[in-house]
């Protein structure tokens, strides 16, 4: 590599890092200025001690867990079946799973409200549980592109067909095959999808706000409109959660290395 190319590479890298980190540093610095003249964690303390923060954050965590559970139950068998029996359907399934990226969340939520309102055949919005369920389904839809791709990539690393046939010849039925052969071997991929789902759900605003659920996203928006320093502290916390998720994805991907067979 020539000296010019090497220097250009470094310049581009440094520019990219500055582009990303300068606003973040500004945000973090401002979040520490709640006390006049000195840096302090006052904004963070206020946020964390706010009962509404605890309630909304807990709610979003619960919703994220529910979304992950629904996502795994929906995506793992689907991706497995497509890979095993319907490889011709793969482009269509991939297309469907990509739709949430091009259809705005607001369209999805208005569709839900129209279909499942209190005067519809299935009035899910008529109860708290029903609305929460609807929210979890909505989140599952939003996370579908990430969850499907993660699981599908995981399935690509194992010989799904032969492992399934080996398990069948040993007497296993479909539930056993999925639960004890396929799922344990794609756990790192499922966890990657799960952490991405978690990060999406924690910060999601549109679905939660329009379904009027006490989630973390709408809380962030409310605080941002009314308080000076706390929203920035919350933003830093939200970044921290997302990065922690990314770190965990890296960590679990390393677990998968033990499954590689040698000849």
């Amino acid at each position: 590599m020539s000296l010019f190319a090497r220097i250009t590479g470094w310049v581009v890298l440094i520019f990219g890092l500055l582009y990303f980190f300068i606003p973040l540093a500004g945000l973090t610095e401002f979040s520490l200025k709640a006390r006049r003249g000195v840096y302090s964690l006052d904004a963070y303390a206020k946020v964390i001690n706010d009962p509404e923060f605890q309630a909304t954050f807990s709610f979003s965590v619960m919703m994220a867990l529910a979304t992950i559970a629904i996502g795994v139950l929906l995506v793992v068998p689907t991706a497995f079946w497509v890979r095993l029996k319907m490889p011709w359907a793969r482009p269509y399934v991939e297309f469907v799973t990509l739709l949430p990226l091009v259809i705005p969340a607001i369209v999805i939520v208005f569709g839900y409200i129209r279909l499942y309102n209190t005067s519809s055949f299935l009035p899910l919005t008529g109860s708290v549980f029903g609305t929460n369920l609807l929210l979890a389904f909505g989140y599952t839809t939003l996370a579908l592109p990430y969850m499907y791709r993660a699981v599908d990539t995981g399935l690509r690393t194992i010989d799904v067909g032969t492992l399934t046939e080996a398990a069948q010849s040993l007497g296993a039925g479909w539930v056993t095959i999925l639960g004890r052969v396929i799922l344990p071997n794609v756990i790192p991929a499922v966890l990657s999808g799960a952490f991405l789902t978690f990060a999406i759900v924690i910060g999601e605003f549109t679905l939660a706000a329009l379904l009027d659920r006490p989630a973390f996203g709408p809380y962030l928006q409310r605080i941002g409109a009314n308080k000076p320093y706390e929203p920035f502290a919350l933003s830093v916390i939200a970044f921290g959660i997302t990065w922690a998720c990314m770190g965990l994805i890296q960590l679990v991907t390393r677990f998968s290395k033990h499954t590689k067979a040698r000849g």
Partner: protein, 348 residues
């Protein structure tokens, strides 16, 4: 009726008929090899027996029970795959015990059976390892133990040695045969390697284009092939065209000698074949066909010397044993080759 009875089996994928009217009876405890080139339908037959493919037509009965329509997990058939197919998340012992756990075998009994199986395959101390910690040969042994642990009524082996190196392949095939004999389990072994099939089978089914071309013992298949395909596919062959002298008597002329075949022949010439080891250098006792030839190639293979000679315009390969007191002929040397007409294979 045979223990495993396959009758008039057919399989089509779209318009492509990959298995055509395939029938075979296998006795209990028999070791059968399905031998043939890629795409001949041997693996499809095996997969239909296992239940992974549904036959388009025909029946498969094991112990008199119809298997067609039964799911693979209801057939009690063990299978070993070319790609080992061990479950990467389970230890060796857990892999071997997988089928027993599915069957609901109690833990103590399961552990005893797993230990028995690991001892059988010669890996008694590797129960705690994961598949990725084993060599290819060890993985395939574990796959065999896993398939045998639930005491299947039939064992299917789908090219289990293809992914292994030559030395391991030979030792493992002998082990597979020894274990099969010890357990007396009915076995179907799919391979495209004729040496493998010849060395360990009770009977061989040579398949070509979706049909069973010939079924017989390794001795019969090698020495008395009934079709040109079998003769060419199994072992090396020298092909001669002999002129018919007296068709009704089966008298033919090859080179400078006349000889008789069993039974009458038709046409003006007959295609005959001889294995390299059936041809001798020089005139041997009992040989009634003599061919003048010129040595063109000499390959020293250790205990055997393979010679290629030109006789009557065709290339002839023959094997002679190496003898320290008798060096092989020089290139271009004029020699005589001889063989017994009884060793000639008439090609249909």
């Amino acid at each position: 009726m045979a223990f495993l009875d396959i009758s008039h089996l057919e399989k089509s994928f779209g318009t492509n008929r990959v298995v055509k009217d395939f029938s075979l009876g296998i006795d209990k405890g028999e070791f059968i090899s399905l031998l043939g080139p890629s795409g001949c339908g041997k693996t499809t037959v095996l997969r239909m027996v296992a239940g992974f493919e549904d036959p388009s037509l025909g029946a498969i009965r094991i112990g008199g029970v119809d298997m067609v329509g039964k799911r693979p997990n209801q057939r009690n058939i063990g299978m070993v795959f070319q790609a080992y197919a061990l479950f990467p998340n389970l230890t060796v012992a857990e892999n071997v015990g997988f089928g027993l756990k599915i069957k609901g075998v109690a833990r103590a009994e399961r552990e005893a059976r797993v230990a028995e199986m690991l001892a059988l395959i010669g890996l008694p101390d590797l129960g705690g390892r994961y598949p990725f910690q084993l060599s290819g040969g060890q993985q395939q042994r574990v796959a065999l133990a896993r398939a045998l642990a639930p005491k299947p009524q039939v064992l299917l082996l789908d090219e289990p040695l293809s992914a292994l190196d030559a030395k391991v392949r030979v030792s493992l095939r002998n082990e597979i045969r020894a274990i099969q004999r010890e357990l007396g389990i009915t076995t179907i072994f799919v391979t495209h390697d004729q040496e493998e099939a010849l060395s360990i089978s009770d009977r061989i089914v040579v398949m070509n284009g979706g049909i069973a071309d010939q079924v017989g013992t390794p001795f019969e298949i090698y020495n008395r092939p009934t079709t040109r395909f079998v003769a060419n596919f199994v072992g090396q062959l020298n092909i001669f065209r002999a002129d018919v002298e007296v068709a009704s008597e089966g008298r033919l002329r090859l080179g400078e000698t006349s000889f008789f075949l069993d039974g009458p022949v038709s046409g003006s010439s007959v295609d005959l074949a001889a294995r390299p080891e059936a041809i001798s250098l020089g005139r041997s006792a009992g040989a009634d066909v003599v061919l003048p030839a010129v040595i063109r190639e000499v390959h020293f293979l250790g205990s055997v010397i393979r010679l290629t000679a030109e006789a009557g315009g065709s290339r002839v390969a023959l094997d002679t044993f190496n003898r320290p007191d008798m060096p092989p002929p020089a290139l271009g040397a004029a020699v005589e080759l001889s063989l017994s007409s009884r060793d000639l294979i008439r090609l249909g």
